[in-house]
């Protein structure tokens, strides 16, 4: 389809471009201007940006289809303007065999919607004991290797995994948390957990584990991306690690960027998250870290959970929240709070995320994949179970009025979503 997008405010964080104009799409790529397009989208009043790249979205397939399906979650992604997503390996069974990864890729491709980038399991069954066949998993389509939220307490295994991955240049994505210190905990170990009588996870559970991995990065030179930082101390460690020139990057989830343990209120199970929501000080440090670039990206950490999983006492509730459709409005909210330009704000879910993921999308240059999201940055959206396309209706942001509504989503030049 030869398509033209007219009168848009074009924002391309990769090049710094921000101005009104037209975009042309041909053969699935962004192209030079041409005459007689087959379709013209009038994007007056809309921003045209590279399709968003979400570094953590659980699609729940295979195995957990009762919580969500590829169809429902891909629809949610497109409604949120997300055109590429990385999915963690904690499916059932985990993504530890090339066959499973291949099947997921095929299923996703058949739906011809958002681009799905599977992250393979770092260890067999995520048990933290034996390495997976990383080379074969890479051939099957894995872009990185991770333990998702499963612990890897054995530092010998962690060291060997990083050595092996470094040998072949495979990126390793880790959410660091000391398994012993976190054992039994369900909330940030602070005043709120003390008041509510909830077992705590101390902030140093994250920083101790992060410091351990940084030492192993120094030893192995493995490329490590740290997922969903939650503490001020972790931001501090990352700042120093980057200054030192280590091959590391990191992200923060939308929840930890905006919420803190005070939001637990009276045991709100929608705030049962991994890692736990931490203190206001931690949240502020993450927000600042994202602004200065110490934290590279923001992700939705999309984890659909059904009502049965959430209608339980806080500690027994399943961790996670739906997020794909909140990624844009909550990233915009962060940008407004920090008084950033739209281009700088959007960089964290486009160009910067593409760099971490190692893909060619996330920019609007001529010849780049035509993954484009058109949105109205001022239009309000009310977050409610009725408006969410995801099968997961649980989020701490239910009832929020946020700004930023997606009108069109294009993947490889095809209009795959229209509001």
């Amino acid at each position: 389809m030869r398509l033209a997008i007219k009168n848009a405010r074009i924002i391309d964080p990769a090049s710094g471009r921000d101005g009104h104009g037209d975009l042309y799409v041909a053969d699935g790529k962004i192209s030079e201007e041409f005459a007689r397009p087959e379709r013209v989208i009038d994007a007056k009043g809309l921003v045209a940006a590279p399709g968003f790249i979400d570094l953590s979205a659980r699609l729940r397939e295979p195995g957990l289809e009762y919580k969500a399906t590829l169809e429902s979650e891909m629809q949610a992604a497109l409604a949120g303007g997300v055109t590429s997503l990385a999915c963690p390996p904690d499916t059932d069974p985990p993504l530890d065999e090339p066959g499973l990864v291949d099947m997921l890729r095929r299923r996703a491709k058949a739906l011809s919607r958002a681009r799905v980038y599977p992250i393979g399991a770092l260890t067999v069954k995520l048990e933290g004991e034996r390495l997976t066949e990383m080379a074969q998993l890479t051939e099957a389509g894995c872009v990185a290797f991770s333990q998702a939220n499963a612990p890897l307490p054995d530092t010998q295994v962690l060291w060997r995994a990083l050595q092996y991955a470094a040998t072949f240049g495979f990126p390793v994505w880790l959410r660091t948390e000391d398994a012993w210190l976190a054992k039994g905990g369900v909330a940030h170990d602070g005043e709120v957990a003390t008041r509510l009588g909830l077992p705590g996870i101390p902030a140093f559970a994250e920083t101790i584990a992060l410091a351990t991995v940084l030492e192993l990065v120094r030893a192995t030179r493995a490329r490590v991306h740290f997922c969903r930082l939650s503490t001020a101390g972790a931001v501090e460690l990352m700042r120093a690690a980057k200054r030192e020139g280590l091959p590391v990057s990191c992200d923060v989830g939308i929840h930890h960027l905006h919420l803190c343990d005070m939001d637990l209120g009276y045991f709100d199970a929608n705030c049962r998250l991994e890692p736990p929501l931490r203190s206001q000080r931690d949240r502020d440090a993450l927000s600042r870290g994202l602004e200065e670039g110490t934290v590279d990206c923001v992700c939705s950490d999309h984890t659909p959970v059904d009502d049965d999983g959430k209608h339980r006492p806080f500690a027994e509730a399943e961790p996670g929240a739906t997020g794909l459709e909140l990624l844009l409005p909550l990233t915009l909210k962060w940008g407004v709070e920090r008084k950033l330009s739209l281009a700088k704000t959007l960089a964290r879910i486009t160009a910067d995320a593409a760099r971490v993921l190692g893909v060619g999308s996330g920019r609007l240059a001529i010849g780049a994949p035509a993954d484009i999201t058109l949105f109205d940055p001022a239009a309000g959206v009310r977050i409610s179970p009725e408006t969410l396309k995801s099968q997961g209706k649980n989020t701490p942001f239910l009832g929020y009025e946020l700004a930023g509504k997606v009108q069109y989503t294009l993947v490889a030049g095809n209009v795959v979503y229209q509001a």
Binding site: D189, G190, E191, A193, T194, R195, L196, G197, L198, P199, G200, P202, G265, Y266, F267, A269, D308, H311, R312, P313, F314, A315, E316
Partner: protein
């Protein structure tokens, strides 16, 4: 943040879930009402018809004999019908969810659910899902709250010390795992006790406990100095299995209440314990059975306090 889920739209007590966030007027109302019931419990015919025709369901998801019995006695003295359910050994083991259990019992026309659960916050979840005419009374949830125990402690303190405005209260022991301590602390700070102290080793005091309005002591002798009220907490034997404490003997040496240590408190100090006691672990028998001890009166007052709570919520 949502409205305090314990109060109805008029600000009256709909459920009793925690002593935290309750206005002093409501705490005082409960204590005053309990005062009027102390007489009832001493009469030959120990019954008043306030809850006649009402059903009280004792929902115990965690085993307990003492608390369940006192709630049962209190409900019966209010002329309610009492149904005891030990769910720890029935439907939960069959995989039924907490809310399904409650919905089923609700269909049997319950008026008051008395709930004990091992998970902090469970009674809040139930309160959010019951019908408007049903009331939830928290009989202990995880480490979070045990409000009727906190209230009976307040009642006992008021009974012996008349008012809270000059008191120094020392709470000693395993505050980390204690719902009793949390409920008492909130009650005392709400009613204006000027100094509430917690005493224990770092391993048994939760992070940021000072934010509850207490002063922290690790040296028991220092913490007991001039205390008017001494509250001992139960130390469960499983605390010695992890890395929290080396042994019961060593704990008793530093944090057990003996006559010698008690002599540092005020001469008219009272000694309380929520029970069941571990003699020789947190408290010496000479203190438990001595003249300062008000441990048995606490149990008696507990019935009057639970009568007060049930009659107040049922009336709102």
């Amino acid at each position: 943040m949502e409205r305090n889920p314990q109060l109805n739209a008029k600000g009256e007590l709909q459920h009793l879930l925690s002593t935290e966030g309750l206005p002093p007027e409501i705490l005082t109302q409960i204590l005053d009402t309990a005062e009027s019931f102390v007489g009832v419990t001493e009469r030959e015919v120990k019954k008043v018809p306030l809850l006649r025709g009402k059903s009280v369901f004792n929902l115990f998801f965690e085993p307990s004999t003492r608390t369940r019995t006192t709630f049962e006695i209190a409900a019966k003295r209010l002329s309610a019908d009492v149904i005891n359910l030990n769910i720890a050994v029935s439907s939960q083991s069959k995989g039924e969810s907490l809310l399904d259990t409650v919905a089923n019992l609700s269909a049997m026309q319950a008026d008051i659910f008395v709930v004990r659960h091992a998970s902090s916050g469970a009674p809040f979840l139930i309160a959010r899902h019951v019908k408007p005419h049903e009331h939830v009374v928290n009989a202990g949830d995880g480490r979070h709250a045990h409000p009727t125990q906190g209230l009976l402690d307040l009642f006992t303190i008021r009974h012996y010390k008349k008012d809270f405005s000059r008191l120094t209260v020392a709470i000693i022991g395993d505050v980390l795992h204690s719902r009793v301590a949390r409920s008492l602390i909130h009650g005392l700070t709400t009613l204006g006790a000027p100094q509430v102290r917690v005493i224990g080793p770092q391993t048994l005091l939760p992070v940021g406990v000072e934010a509850l309005g207490v002063k922290v002591f690790h040296d028991m002798r220092e913490g007991l100095r001039d205390a008017d009220v001494v509250v001992m907490l139960r130390l469960q034997s499983e605390r010695m299995k992890g890395a929290l404490l080396p042994s019961a003997q060593e704990y008793f040496k530093h944090y057990g209440l003996t006559l010698d240590k008690l002599s540092l408190a005020r001469p008219d100090a009272i000694v309380m314990h929520p029970g069941p006691m571990n003699r020789g672990v947190e408290i010496d028998s000479s203190v438990a059975d001595g003249p300062h001890s008000v441990i048995l009166p606490q149990v008696t007052f507990g019935i009057a306090v639970r009568m007060a709570v049930m009659s107040i919520v049922a009336g709102n």
